[in-house]
Structures are given as C-alpha cells and as structure tokens.
Symmetry: C2
Subunit: 334 residues, 2 copies
DNA sequence: GTGAAAGCGCTAACAT
DNA sequence: ATGTTAGCGCTTTCAC
C-alpha cells in the first residue's frame, strides 16, 4: 500500500490540507512546517495520487499523442521530441498508433480525450470537420496539418521545396518530376504548391507523377512512371518513397545521380545509409514534437480562445545534399 | 462539461448505483432498466471517468511501456504490437523512451508505476536488482530480458543463432565472426551462447569481435575488425549493426557476399532495402508486444505469485535468407 | 433488483 | 499560516 497524504499528515503532525499546500504551493506555508512535511513525505516515499488530484483539479497531467504509423521512421522522431519535452514538465504521454486508418483515428482520439488534458495529433488523416469537432471538445494541437482555428506546428513546405528546386536548378536540371504522397495528405498538397511556385520562378518544367503510398513500396511503384516523364531529377513525397524509387531504378540499371537525380523529404536516419546516400530536405522532427508540447502546455494554461486561436509554429527545413544528386552539370537523359 | 453518472441516473430515473451496475455488471440488473440506462447513457454521450473509477477500484485501465530507443526500428514494432493488443482490451498505453539510459530508465519506471496497473519493460538496460525492486512494487512484464521470478516474453536466441550458423555452414563457411552488442545487453549475452553451441556442433571457428553500439555507426565501427578476423561470414548483434557494417565494407571495396557474407538479427523493414538485401533472423516483434500485454493482463487478473512467478513466453525466430549471404559454395577470403 | 450511504485520495473554499 | 469542511465521479457495501 503506497502512503497517502493523510499518512504524511499524521507523521508530520499537521492537517492533510497543510501537506497538500506544502507540496503543491510551498510558498504559502511556514518554512519550518514545510520542512517537517517534506521530511515525512520523504520517509514514507509519498507520491501523490495523480488520479485523485485530477478528479478535483480537472487536470490529469497527461497528454495524448496520436500518430498514423510508428513504422514510418518519421513518427518515432516526433514521438521522441514529444516525450522529452513532456518529461521536463512532468507530463506523461499516452501514445496511440492508428495504422493509417482515418476512422480508427477518430475513435482513438475520442477515447483518449477523456483521460488527458490535451491531445497532439500528428499528421492526422481525419477530415477537417472531424478534427474541428474534436478540437471543440478538447485541447488539441496539430502537427503537420493545418485546420483553421486549431493551434498547430507545421513545416515550411514551400520553403523546403524551393530549396530542393534551387539545388537541382544549380546542377543544371530543367525537367523535374514530383512523386506525390497520399491524396488526403495535407503536406503533399502543400508541397506541390511550393514546387510549382519555385518551378515557375526558375523556368523549370514540373511533371506530376500522381499519388503513391508514403512507403518504400510506393516509391518502387512510382519509379517507372517518374522515369517515363523524361525528367532528369525527381523529388518525392518523403524519404521512404525516395528510397523505394532508388531501389527500382537500380534494378532497372538506371544510375543515380548520373542518369537521374533523386531528392527526398524528411531526412530519416535511413537516408544516409542508402547507396547513393539520399539528398533530402531535413525536417526538424523532434523539434516539432517538442514545440507541440509547448503549444499544448500554453493552451492548457490559458484556454482563452482569443490568445490561442490560430497559434502556430512553422519550422523550416534544411537541404541536406548527398550523393543522390551528385554533381550533374550536364544532366543526361536516362 | 461531459456527462456524469448522476446525469445518466437522473435522465433514466434511477439511482446512480443502478447506472453503475447497468454499465459494469449488466447481468445483475433488470433487462428493462438496463435498457433505459443504456439509452440515457447513449443520449448523453456518457463516458465513465476512469480516474474516478480507478480511485475506488484501484485499477486505472492503463499500462506503461518503456523502451530504450524508438529510433531503433525494432522498438516501434514492439510498441505497435502492444498498442494493438491493449486497445482490444480497452487499455491505454503510456509510452516512455529512455534514450538508452539505464538510470533514466529506473526514474521513468518509478514515475510511471504510480499511474498504471502494470508495466511492460522492453529490453530494459537497468540492473537485475533494480528490475527486481521494481517488480516487487508493481506488476511488471519483461520483454527481451529474463530476470528470475519476473514474467517475461523473450526470443529464442539460441535457436535463432543455430539457424544462422546452419545456414552459413551449408554455404561452406567455417570461420564466422560475431559482432556483439552492448556489454549490458541480455540478448547479446544469450546470443553468443547459442552461437558457441552451434559452432561447436558444426566444427565452426567462432571469432568474437567485441561490443558495439546497437546502431548503424556501431556496425561501421565493427567492420574493419570483423574483416581482420579472417572470417568468411559475420553475424551481427542486430540488423542496424549489419547495415552499418555493409556500408563500411562497400566503402572498402569488400564485396558482400562474394568476399564476406553478413547475417543480421531482427528483420527490420530496412533490411530488405539494403544492397545486398540482408539475410537475417526475423524476430516476431509485434507478437512479442502483443503477448506481453496478455501476460500483463493475466498477472493483473490473478496476482497470485504462485501462478505468475516464472510465467514466460518464448518466441522463435525465423531465418530470412537474402542476398547478403548469396550462394558461396566456395567462400573466398577477403 | 434497486436505493441510500460511505468513501477512494486529494484540493479548495472557508474559517480561524 | 493552519485546520475544518465539503466534494470531485465513481463503486460498493448494506439494507430493503
């Protein structure tokens, strides 16, 4: 049986409320008694029961984190960032993996919502209405998704795409293919906007190659179509797709970067392990998780809609040049 | 404000206790009233407050999951297994990542322990004493680690290593190097036992190459020493190490599998994406997570030490042959 | 089969 | 500055 607040009170010879105060509002209690209480608590190994506290304060000290698929290395990074920051504030994290299922996602979110002070939804697949509904009932921070009126931390997709295009243009590329992600992906939609803007500014022909699963297999599937565009460089929805693409190109005997340059997005750990290593736009994944927690904490402390509505952080990507874009001053056609 | 049990009681025209019973012990309440209660609950979107329930039942309906490093793809797989199984039983999962820090691990475990019914510790780095101490205070299930008297789900390391050696022997290898994992790794220690047993039975020379970080960089670091042993094949602590090793070998112009064969352990997704693709021993990672939850649930239902002590599941690995062991009937020396 | 009452461990007025 | 009282939302005796 763990010690309760009453046990501490008895041992310290004070009332329960004094113990409560000594522990959560130390400033308001006499230094001497405070010491006595702390000693007693120490001796009993007292740990407040968070559930009981939550029952009365309405705060659980827990947050929920929902991600589409932990098997995609992008998400573990975000999770690590969330964890690390949450721990600093003594907040525990419920994690839920939706297996990329938009329906399951909403169910899980609803279930979690009851037990936490707030939720971080990372790259949610749910519809905008569903997300708004959830945001109505509970504190929500979005990561990698923007919904009007909901606090969010996103990546500067347009800026990232500009960097990728600028790099490729500098290497002489003028025909560039884009391998899109899932049709419902918010980031995919926004990346292509940035691509078109950059392409226009640079006199580049942009060739869309449709939508593919955000996976290795998706990249394998996209490769032939990307080649068929006649582009000299390909930008993909994410690194996993780029790596799948690399594999298929190799199988076909198409050399990267000699015949075709490839650029990914994310900079997952795997990207420096491929051959050739993958040029990519590094997204500050852990940082995003960390900031999401900070945003959520801010929302919890001040749930005033006026301050919060539209609160958002935008994180910038960083171009990481590796061998998959080599040096191709005279990019050959495959 | 979410609806409370009293709200439901009022709407259904019954007492709170009846509502409570109708929802948690449906059998014991009249069918008609039960229906009325359920209708009312439905209409109000009533969700029981788990914290309040936990306060009285002593059960939170939550479990904690602690892993060393989500960045190692092995762990997200286990986490997914845990999640999936926990969800089925309407149990929520707290996740903590210790960043491979044994001290932090114990701290985190202690903190989590207060808020959950039980803990799943995956590949814990803490000392046996610390783990025993924790297991004393709270319900614990270990994954990939064995401590006397603590329920655990482990992998059949010896069997896995036998398969790896048998495969290599069949290909003609007689000098095989082993790249070990962290000094404190339980599985590393047990894998080497299996290796020696299998090596003895097959007249194979086993060459230990020391201890390395369980990472890509660890594999890079190990490669040269592995080559220097004069072995014709290398087995590594895990796939990540094998992949790092592959990279370094390639940089040195050593061909795999022509000059040297490589076998990993785990079968992470990345292993089929390397060049050459990695032969490995597949560990049922998700399954391990799933079983860990089942074990924990069993412990919770029947905390009788006699039934539980020593409860354990052993999962078997499966050899996955890919190109990194090619066909080398006449394995050349590098 | 159902209701009334008590209380899980804690905090927050309200007194003092 | 400290103690007293009440109650968060729920389950569970104990009566009926």
């Amino acid at each position: 049986m763990p010690a309760t607040l009453r046990d501490v009170a008895r041992l310290a010879g004070v009332s329960p409320s004094t113990v409560s105060r000594a522990l959560s509002t130390p400033a308001v209690v006499n230094a001497a008694t405070r010491a006595r209480v702390q000693a007693a608590a120490e001796r009993l190994g007292y740990q407040p029961n968070r559930a009981a506290r939550g029952l009365i304060t309405g705060r659980t000290g827990n947050i929920g984190l929902v991600v589409p698929d932990l098997a995609n290395p992008f998400f573990p990074s975000v999770v690590k960032g969330v964890q690390a920051r949450a721990r600093q504030s003594d907040v525990a994290v419920f994690l839920a993996d939706t297996d990329e299922d938009a329906v399951e996602e909403v169910v899980l979110v609803r279930a979690l919502a009851k037990q936490v002070d707030g939720l971080i939804l990372c790259s949610p697949r749910a519809s905008e209405e569903d997300l708004l509904a959830v945001a109505q009932e509970t504190n929500v921070v979005l990561v990698n998704r923007l919904v009007e009126g909901v606090p969010a931390v996103t990546f500067d997709n347009e800026g990232g795409m500009r960097q990728a295009i600028a790099h490729l243009v500098a290497l002489g590329h003028r025909r560039i293919a884009w391998v899109g992600g899932p049709r419902t992906s918010w980031s995919s939609a926004h990346r292509i906007i940035g691509l078109y803007a950059a392409a226009n500014d640079n006199g580049v022909d942009l060739l869309e190659v449709g939508h593919f699963a955000p996976t290795y297999d998706g990249g394998m599937a996209a490769a032939d179509q990307a080649v068929a565009t006649g582009a000299t460089a390909v930008v993909t929805y994410n690194d996993l797709v780029a790596i799948g693409l690399l594999a298929r190109l190799h199988a076909r005997g198409i050399s990267v970067p000699d015949d075709l340059s490839v650029v990914g997005i994310d900079d997952i750990a795997m990207s420096r392990m491929t051959r050739p290593a993958l040029t990519t736009v590094r997204l500050p994944k852990q940082k995003a998780g960390q900031i999401a927690v900070e945003l959520l904490l801010a929302v919890l402390d001040d749930p005033d809609p006026d301050t919060i509505i539209g609160t958002r952080g935008t994180l910038h990507g960083e171009l990481i040049v590796r061998d998959s874009t080599g040096v191709a001053s005279d990019p050959a056609r495959p």
